[in-house]
């Protein structure tokens, strides 16, 4: 049976997250020391060689992102690093575990990333409900300043970097990078038109690197041990490890770090198997903005490239397991209700579409003379929304909807 391989989570439960000395004894900031001894471009090259993909959901190559930012607008007075710690995808809590239990790890990754793109200012945008993460990150920052790991002339390298915490206030949409930048600037969380991407015009209109907590938490390992070591785990197309958060009908729901490419069945086994011995029915991969799969996917490799090939998504690493007897329509209805609540209202197709989809899902659940036609209509509407909405929120409902329809159309459309 597969075992966990803890790289990012190696210190979890072993150190006091509020003690920088504990963290340093466990190897924290070794990666930063090494990074500061080479050129920023060398750091970027190492990350590109490691082929680290962003762990927030989109899976964009992290090294490439850094390269874009580092080469953007050479005459601009300032560059920024923004940490996306607005974890809100249903079923996802990997960033919370890192922030609550090893905040120095991602703080170190943030400082290395700032050095790589030569950003002297960073913001960590944490969702407002994550009180423990906020508090521990603030402690970590304060202690890092005391040790000369933040501020002026970090460890005598001549590199300056200041980092502060910004709070979200209960908006899922602000986890989308451009919307997050709006919120960070003190505005309503409405998305921006892209392009321009943050690398070009980010926070305050200046070049900005936006990275997820887990992505940044992978950087110290890559710099300290090298890209070859990093690539020893995972698959060719998706190197490294991934933290999966497994919940629902399993015996030991929780966070599990495993090499990219383990199968869905292996993840379920790792989480103690199906609860009450019930047969597996479905998994929702990647949260609400994710895809449903059925038992035919149990032996598929969980990696960005493989799941994409199969029309599914890895997303944030959320894996929500359903057993026989759990109605798919309920889960679908819940996801659609979520989108309705979180739609910002800027794009009409999303604002009215998310509300319409909830109504339709209720009809699907409560009875409708022609459920087949209704489901087709929902897919059509969500496809139009995806094509006509500015940001990922309006583009998301089609994902769970289409996948649920393709795997569970008989259940969804049967007339009781």
């Amino acid at each position: 049976m597969i075992q966990e391989t803890r790289r990012v989570l190696k210190n979890i439960g072993k150190i006091n997250p509020e003690s920088i000395d504990d963290a340093i004894r466990a190897g924290a900031y070794d990666g930063l020391k090494k990074a500061l001894s080479v050129q920023p471009a060398d750091v970027i090259n190492e990350l590109m060689g490691a082929d680290l993909h962003g762990r927030g959901g989109a899976g964009f190559p992290a090294g490439m992102k850094q390269k874009f930012v580092s080469e953007s607008c050479m005459h601009c007075p300032q560059r920024y690093v923004v940490v996306n710690a607005d974890e809100g995808e249903p079923g996802t809590f990997k960033d919370r575990i890192i922030m609550e239990q090893d905040p120095h790890l991602y703080l170190e990754g943030t400082i290395i990333a700032a050095y790589a793109v030569q950003a002297s200012k960073g913001f960590i945008y944490i969702r407002g409900e994550y009180h423990d993460s906020i508090r521990k990150t603030r402690v970590a920052i304060k202690d890092a300043y005391k040790k000369g790991l933040l501020g002026k002339n970090i460890l005598g390298s001549g590199f300056d970097c200041d980092i502060e915490v910004k709070l979200g206030a209960g908006s899922y949409l602000c986890g989308e990078e451009l919307t997050m930048l709006e919120s960070l600037e003190g505005k309503r969380g409405n998305p921006r038109i892209k392009p321009p991407f943050p690398a070009e015009k980010g926070a305050f209109g200046l070049p900005t690197l936006v990275n997820n907590v887990e992505t940044l938490a992978n950087i110290p390992f890559i710099i300290a041990h090298g890209k070859a070591e990093f690539r020893k785990l995972g698959t060719e197309g998706s190197p490294g490890t991934k933290i999966f958060t497994i919940s629902g009908r399993v015996n030991r729901a929780g966070h599990y770090e495993v090499p990219m490419g383990v199968t869905l069945q292996e993840l379920i086994d790792l989480a103690g198997g199906m609860s009450e011995g019930k047969p597996f029915k479905a998994a929702l991969l990647g949260g609400a903005a994710g895809t449903f799969v059925d038992a035919s996917m149990l032996e598929e490799q969980m990696s960005y490239d493989n799941l994409k090939k199969k029309g599914a998504t890895l997303g944030s690493g959320a894996v929500i397991i359903f057993a026989e007897g759990d109605p798919v329509v309920e889960a679908l209805h819940n996801c659609l209700r979520f989108f309705r609540h979180e739609s910002c209202g800027k794009c009409v197709p999303c604002r009215t579409g998310t509300a319409q989809l909830v109504k339709s899902a209720e009809q699907l659940r409560n009875g409708h003379p022609d459920k087949k036609a209704l489901l087709e209509q929902m897919i059509r509407e969500s496809t139009i929304m995806a094509a006509t909405s500015l940001c990922p929120l309006g583009q998301s409902p089609v994902l769970p909807l289409k996948s649920a329809a393709s795997y569970f159309s008989r259940e969804l459309t049967e007339i009781k």
């Binding site: 079923g91 809590f93 994550y130 709070l167 206030a169 209960g170 003190g186 505005k187 969380g189 919940s247």
Partner: protein, 164 residues
């Protein structure tokens, strides 16, 4: 919980931050957390707008956009029930029903004694131990009726002691 006697005045709180727009959300959080009724008063919004040099409408727009902010008085304790797909699978609906019964209010309301406001929340990221609720800054997991009753009782008890 904050003791009203220790409350700082609005201006003192605002002035802990630099007068720059990007501090708006952090300021609103600080003001709301400082208010015993967990909300943003009109005065607080006006003072913030003046301090940041923003039109009142901008501050109002931000305060009303985000779910965590309230412009109406709420209880000392905000009970947020997670309604995510995972918690729903673990009977979050029942948690809501039980809390409504125990508190004698419906979702969105505040108990007459001003102690509790019952709200719903999107995923609180506690899916390993669903169902979950958050009471102010504290998270409670693996809930059933007994545990819920215990939590409410405990908070009521601690308040009585504090008031004595």
């Amino acid at each position: 919980m904050t003791n009203p006697l220790q409350l700082m005045c609005t201006q003192q709180i605002i002035e802990q931050f630099a007068p720059e727009q990007h501090n708006l959300l952090n300021i609103l959080h600080a003001l709301q957390d400082n208010h015993p009724q967990n909300y943003l008063t009109e005065q607080a919004l006006d003072d913030t707008a003046r301090y940041l040099g923003l039109p009142k409408s901008s501050v109002y727009g931000v305060a009303t956009y985000y779910t965590m902010f309230s412009l109406v008085p709420r209880g000392r304790y905000i009970v947020r029930v997670c309604t995510s797909v995972v918690c729903e699978l673990h009977k979050a609906g029942r948690v809501i029903g039980s809390l409504e019964n125990m508190l004698g209010i419906t979702t969105g309301e505040t108990t007459p004694d001003g102690m509790f406001t019952l709200e719903l929340s999107e995923c609180l990221g506690q899916c390993q131990d669903a169902p979950s609720v958050m009471v102010n800054e504290k998270v409670y997991n693996n809930l059933d009726d007994n545990r819920l009753a215990e939590i409410i009782h405990q908070i009521r008890g601690s308040q009585k002691t504090a008031n004595r």
